[in-house]
């Protein structure tokens, strides 16, 4: 990883510290700065409220030319998060062809928060959950809350 990328990550971390978005906590390891651990509270008013989700952000060596890779370490019932042990998500600005260097991690985190409030059905990675969200909202909410209780407490 180049010095420029490290500098940029440091800078972004500084910015994140200066104004951490509400309901987030960032664990940063000086030794391995390409891997951030984020603790995110389920946004109030969403089905995930009350849950605590652990996310992992991994910066590629080509950062900021390549997007960071975001994955949920806590299982979450969400159409945009893959329902496996990877918990990967990839949409919007996280997509390699959409990503632009001026984008910042804060923006990524905000995007994730907003997705927890309102999933993006059209860009779902888990079509079954997306379908449920579309057609049977009650069932979806029940399942999501169930999972929050089970995994994210």
């Amino acid at each position: 990883m180049s010095a420029g990328a490290k500098k940029r990550i440091m800078k972004e971390y500084g910015e994140c510290m200066a104004e951490t978005p509400a309901g987030m906590k960032i664990n940063f390891d000086e030794q391995n700065m390409t891997k951030w651990e984020v603790l995110m509270d389920g946004p109030d008013g969403s089905v995930y409220a009350g849950g605590h989700f652990k996310l992992e952000i991994i910066f590629p060596n080509e950062y900021p030319f390549k997007p960071p890779v975001v994955s949920f370490r806590t299982k979450i019932y969400h159409p945009n998060v893959s329902n496996d042990d990877k918990g990967s998500m990839c949409l919007g600005l996280l997509r390699p062809d959409e990503w632009k260097p001026p984008n910042k991690v804060v923006a990524v985190l905000r995007l994730i928060q907003s997705l927890m409030v309102e999933p993006n059905i059209d860009d779902a990675i888990e079509p079954s959950i997306a379908n449920e969200y579309k057609e049977n909202r009650k069932e979806f909410e029940k399942n999501a809350k169930d999972w929050v209780k089970r995994y994210a407490k």
Partner: protein, 577 residues
């Protein structure tokens, strides 16, 4: 190398002891080196010494079996005077009498110490005596050994070399110990030769037609039997092998011809692609065919200047920019202010570009007025030289912000590879397949969607193993133009009169992030209701969406990641698969 024929003839040659002068045709001098012995009676001189057939013995031996071809080189057929080697033990000498006439030619009947090439003849009547024959022959200038079976009535081809009849109870080592080849002839032939050898063993007066021979030759001359073995070339392969070799040869020929044709075709395609790239019909990087990089010499031509600092116009823009959190929002001011100023006046242009872009989008550091060295790309975006140069040199030729190519139109990379040709063809094929009116597959939802091209992108990306085929969607290129043309005021992202098909750039931090984006980016529907297929579809899609953190970024890398045999296959058959 087996013997094709053995011809036995009768020759006359002078007694070397008596010959004082060297004969032109015949050199009877005793030769010490056995090498030279072979040449003592060269083929072309043979006729001089061969006796007239009506007064001599001539016998082409039929039905020869080669027992050992040791020491026979190609084109070096053994020949020599026939003789019966001496036996060592009395028992053998006694038993020999049944098979060999008493006065058959022995070594003693040939000129002493002459060193002539010899061919030994002996009956194979017992292993023990045979060993004695061989032992004697090994010490004499024997070029070949002719054995015959003791049965005087046999005319059939003698048994093969591994037959029990030829066993000497030594595990077959006699074949290796003998430095000469061994041929077996039928018993009848053997007896005939042996009896003729007894005819031609004495002096001129005792041989058949001796009287008439005396008239032609010196009386002291020797008249003896002489044999020449004609060995085959030894390259005659068993028919199965010949067949296999022919088949193999044909296969290689076919493969070679096919490979050649494919190379020619591929070469033409490469040239065609190059032409189209130069004509601007194909944009390699926009199509994702090839990730281009900017050559160093071209990069140095891009303007570099010190960041100028702020002006009164800048302050306006700056205040605008500082209110927006997102860096990109501020960047949108760039084309606007550029448009409003005269593009021909570089200083104004730059100034306006700069104050609307106060930070380097790569390192996020603010530009320091009059200090920071910035590079301006053709799209007017500016970056720290240190930040943008490595990216353009090593990663991509597209502006990191607007994905507009830095390279001049019609730029063609020096090398068009087969991989590029293949991808370009794949992509254009997909495009024509999915063009409206060709939508014959019922599951093909893609073409019906408004953003068919973009969905297609995903499909193409997926088919190529989760790789992203299109690094820059074409629409991104038109975006700045739209903004420029339609809005004249300082940039407020909300006043975006562009048609909805155009993606708004600020998906970044916008509270409702991907609404408009997804209208176009809408993925193909899950293919069917079967859970298995749906799961697979989801997996594929996840790969397509996520995929390329580990995926290769370039055609060459992809090529390197292929297994070796596939690479080899592609070398031989370019354009295959």
């Amino acid at each position: 190398m087996s013997a094709e024929s053995i011809n036995i003839i009768t020759i006359d040659f002078p007694d070397p002891d008596r010959t004082e002068t060297i004969d032109d045709h015949f050199d009877p001098l005793p030769v010490r080196s056995s090498e030279k012995l072979l040449h003592l009676i060269p083929d072309h001189e043979l006729s001089n010494h061969q006796l007239q057939s009506n007064e001599s013995f001539y016998f082409p031996v039929p039905n020869i079996q080669t027992l050992s071809s040791k020491g026979v080189e190609r084109g070096d057929d053994p020949y020599g005077l026939l003789y019966i080697p001496a036996l060592q033990t009395d028992e053998c000498r006694d038993s020999e009498k049944q098979y060999v006439p008493q006065n058959a030619t022995r070594l003693a009947n040939l000129p002493a110490n002459s060193g002539y090439a010899l061919i030994a003849v002996a009956p194979w009547f017992s292993p023990l005596c045979m060993k004695e024959y061989f032992a004697t022959a090994r010490n004499e200038p024997v070029k070949a050994f002719i054995v015959y079976q003791p049965n005087p009535n046999s005319t059939a081809v003698p048994p093969e070399t591994n037959d029990q009849a030829w066993a000497l109870n030594d595990g077959g080592s006699w074949q290796y110990n003998n430095q000469f080849p061994t041929y077996a002839v039928p018993g009848a032939s053997g007896y005939l030769i042996a009896s003729k050898m007894s005819d031609y063993s004495g002096n001129m007066s005792t041989v058949p037609y001796g009287d008439s021979l005396k008239d032609q030759f010196e009386e002291s001359d020797y008249v003896r039997l002489w044999a020449k073995v004609t060995a085959d070339s030894g390259t005659q392969l068993p028919s199965l092998w010949v067949f296999l070799v022919i088949v193999l040869g044909l296969l290689i020929l076919i493969i070679g011809a096919t490979s050649f044709c494919m190379h020619v075709v591929q070469r033409r395609r490469r040239n065609a692609l190059r032409r189209r790239v130069i004509n601007g019909e194909v944009d390699l990087e926009a199509l994702g065919v090839k990730r281009l990089t900017v050559p160093a010499d071209y990069l140095t031509k891009l303007p570099v200047f010190a960041y100028l600092g702020e002006s009164e116009r800048g302050e306006k823009s700056m205040s605008q920019a500082s209110t927006t959190v997102d860096a990109e929002t501020s960047l949108k001011g760039v084309p606007l202010s550029r448009r409003s100023s005269a593009p021909e006046a570089p200083s104004t242009t730059r100034a306006s570009a700069i104050f609307s872009q106060p930070t380097c989008p790569i390192c996020l550091d603010d530009f320091e007025p009059n200090e920071s060295q910035v590079r301006e790309l053709p799209c007017r975006h500016i970056f720290h030289v240190d930040c943008i140069d490595p990216f353009l040199l090593n990663n991509s030729s597209l502006c990191p912000i607007c994905k507009q190519s830095v390279l001049p139109p019609g730029y063609c990379p020096p090398k068009i590879t087969n991989v590029m040709v293949r991808r370009e063809r794949l992509i254009s094929r997909r495009r024509t397949q999915n063009a409206p009116g060709h939508n014959h597959s019922p599951g093909n939802i893609v073409a019906r969607l408004p953003g068919a091209y973009d969905s297609l992108r995903a499909r193409v990306g997926r088919t190529s193993g989760g790789r992203r085929m299109f690094s820059a969607p074409t629409r991104t290129q038109s975006r700045p133009l739209d903004i420029e043309m339609t809005s004249g005021a300082p940039p407020v992202p909300a006043v975006q009169p562009a048609p909805t098909a155009t993606v708004l750039p600020e998906i970044v931090a916008a509270p409702e992030p991907t609404r408009q984006n997804t209208a176009e980016e809408c993925p193909p529907e899950p293919p069917s209701q079967y859970p298995q297929q749906r799961r697979e579809w989801a997996r594929q899609r996840a790969l397509a969406l996520l995929g390329n953190r580990h995926a290769p970024h370039d055609a060459e890398e992809e090529e390197q990641n292929r297994s070796r045999w596939r690479r080899g296959l592609h070398k031989i058959f370019p354009g295959f698969g």
